[in-house]
Symmetry: C2
Subunit: 183 residues, 2 copies
DNA sequence: TAGCTTGTTCAATTTCTATTGAACAAACCA
DNA sequence: TGGTTTGTTCAATAGAAATTGAACAAGCTA
């Protein structure tokens, strides 16, 4: 009895590889390692696992394969991959004749760091900084209406300045750090 | 009617200042700003608030004052300050004749970053890296017992190497980054 | 068109973390 | 000693975030 559909060499080798990832002890350790690294950036565990799996997969995988191999739900896989794609850690691969989306990890691990920095740290920083000017204003008002002593006002002002200075420094150095992080 | 205990100038000015922190709109904004910045490092909100309060206080505050002014429990205040002290963001101040512990924030905001990096990122990194060697071993075993093709083995090996390389780079650059971050 | 495959979204649930109240320990005082 | 003040610890609770099942949308096939 012949298989209904003849398997190409590529398909066979791919299936073998997936079977390996599913069975091997090393695989679990690899995914776990990668997962841990990505979790440093504050990613959910499931998302970390997805990246780990794809980072060590020599061929792109579909969503359903990711679900099956990691034992997570379609929903998690969908949201996880989307996030990783927007961060630039994964990329969609179009396989001709296939209706499924396939994903592969960029070898540049640093892309993940940069993505995380750009979407988590940076916006929070700037949204915080926007308020600085407002705070300084109400602080000056407090001084004028004698709610606060000149001395205390001076102290608070100096601390605010420190934050401003630090922020500027970070802004200035950020591109350099980003480049250095390019793993 | 005279107050039972004559207040020194210092005490009066301090009480005034605390009243200011309690009442002012600017205070809430300041604490919130600082809180947000510290939360970037993954600190609990209450801990962030403690740091924010002390960062903008011109005099050291006791635990009970922190509780009262932030409306948090003794337990949170105790654990929060302890963590901040071990990170080097706060320091205990001994006031002669007082039985309470007083705390003040170090003006060096970067100390917090370094503390967070040292106690959160660094250990996770190294504990992850320890496993690298182990993974490589089981990978080689898999190759020998023909569970995996030479090709796939090569691919996985290259990805592991990338992680190793990236880790080394981070280790090498960490001190430089730490210095640059010194706000 | 109906039926099938694939991916997304969202309310409900589970899981994890932060926070708290209360019991405890330590140091001081009278 | 007993009482008071201060700080710590921990089990229980409240709160936030991740995960999921299920309903939905979009695209293809016949």
């Amino acid at each position: 009895m012949r298989p209904a559909k003849q398997l190409s060499f590529d398909t066979i080798s791919k299936d073998k590889f997936i079977a390996y990832l599913l069975s091997s002890k090393a695989k679990q350790e690899m995914v776990e390692l990668c997962c841990r690294l990505t979790q440093i950036l504050g990613l959910p565990r499931s998302t970390g696992q997805i990246f780990g799996l794809l980072y060590f997969s020599s061929s792109p995988l579909s969503l359903s394969q990711v679900c099956e191999m990691l034992g997570i739900s379609k929903a998690s896989a969908s949201t996880g991959t989307r996030q990783l794609v927007t961060w630039g850690a994964l990329r969609k691969v179009w396989i001709p004749g296939e209706r499924k989306d396939y994903y592969e990890a960029l070898s540049d691990f640093g892309q993940l760091l940069r993505g995380g920095y750009g979407t988590i740290v940076k916006p929070r920083m700037s949204s915080s900084i926007i308020r600085l000017k407002k705070i300084e204003d109400s602080l000056n008002d407090d001084l004028k209406s004698n709610i606060i002593t000149t001395e205390d006002h001076k102290f608070i002002k100096s601390r605010l300045d420190k934050i401003k200075k630090g922020h500027n420094k970070l802004i200035r150095f950020a591109p350099i750090i980003e480049k250095m992080i390019g793993l």
